[in-house]
Symmetry: C2
Subunit: 216 residues, 2 copies
């Protein structure tokens, strides 16, 4: 790999946003895009966008803009979307099931191999076409199938324990939907999803509007 330094986490977190936007442009057969147009459409500062894209040698040219397809495939490469990942889901409740279905429709790269459950009634059945196995067998399964990512959809009380099991089974990435922050040792990547964070932001915006109305 040629890159001499890692790209900062803040930049990485903005890349999926660029990626979604470029995917949309491509679907609309747009070939080029300027940072100023991009800035308007995705509500980021144009100079911020240029700095971000420069980080990984963006292809922008003054007065000409970026090539949509080149930029998109470069971001795909950086995000690792040109690879594929083996995924297991722990917890076959509503959230687990929603994610299985979500990924059936999603493009590529993330293959849900198995759902793990402790509920004996679910073990041996299928959820949206994906088999359900008992949690007892997770370590064996992960080792045999080179699982990359474990998705935790259990109640919050079990989240840390499951994370420890996953790490023990050699999994390198955890996507945690349980409403509890999960801690792991260095070298393991975790994304803790805090759904309520965005709900709180929504609450903020609503309360601002109310204040504005009261003021009028």
């Amino acid at each position: 790999m040629q890159e001499t330094e890692r790209i900062s986490e803040a930049v990485i977190r903005r890349l999926p946003r660029y990626y979604r936007y470029l995917t949309q442009l491509e679907a609309n057969n747009e070939e080029r895009i300027s940072s100023s147009k991009m800035s308007k459409d995705i509500a980021l500062n144009a100079s911020q966008i240029r700095r971000d894209l420069n980080c990984f040698g963006g292809f922008g040219q003054q007065g000409y803009g970026y090539s949509v397809s080149k930029l998109k495939s470069e971001i795909e490469r950086i995000l690792g979307l040109d690879r594929s990942y083996n995924v297991v889901i722990i917890g076959g409740g509503n959230m687990g099931q929603a994610l299985v279905k979500y990924h059936k429709n999603a493009k590529k790269g993330f293959n849900v191999l198995m759902i793990f459950e402790t509920d004996e009634k679910m073990v041996g059945t299928k959820v949206a076409g994906t088999e359900v196995m008992h949690l007892h067998d997770i370590t064996m399964f992960c080792e045999k199938n080179q699982v990359d990512i474990g998705v935790i959809c259990t109640p919050k009380e079990s989240a840390q324990e499951i994370a420890d099991v996953l790490v023990g089974a050699g999994i390198k990435g955890i996507w945690n939907f349980a409403p509890a922050t999960v801690l792991v040792r260095e070298g393991i990547a975790v994304e803790n999803i805090h759904l309520n964070d965005s709900l709180y932001v929504l609450g903020y915006k609503l309360s601002q509007d109310e204040d504005a109305e009261n003021f009028l």
Copy 2:
């Protein structure tokens, strides 16, 4: 309201993170917290934290830190968590059901009044204790019950249409889980949830590790 200027969106988006952290500290009976300790624990730059908290008149004192409870209640007030919101969920599938259950366990402030569905088999039943009504009746219901927030858990094809119906019914905030960006007129707050964004970040981290291993 005394505030002379609105707080920037970037700061607002960090507040839920502070809020979660402070809630944790309070549960551990911690009374004071310094920006440097905070910085270590939540992986944000200490000067960034001080700047953020200054935006709304944080209570920090040199060498003494912030009062956990004061800071927490100030953030609650700013986020509007000291108010309560009437919420309806559109789409009673797995994601909708997961969110109903999620909010049953959540503290306060967001009251799920009703689930709306087009599936006749679900209409009239209850999901996790919450009634299911036909989508036909949503406008009448929202007007009668002063609904603040509509949560879209439908397939992406219907998301924009539902958003338009919600806005027509006087709803001021939309929490959108359909994998399609929903557009609304000014004055309506929308949070589009893109679950895959964080999965892509996870993919990035995993692919970086692989590169590092190959390099060794």
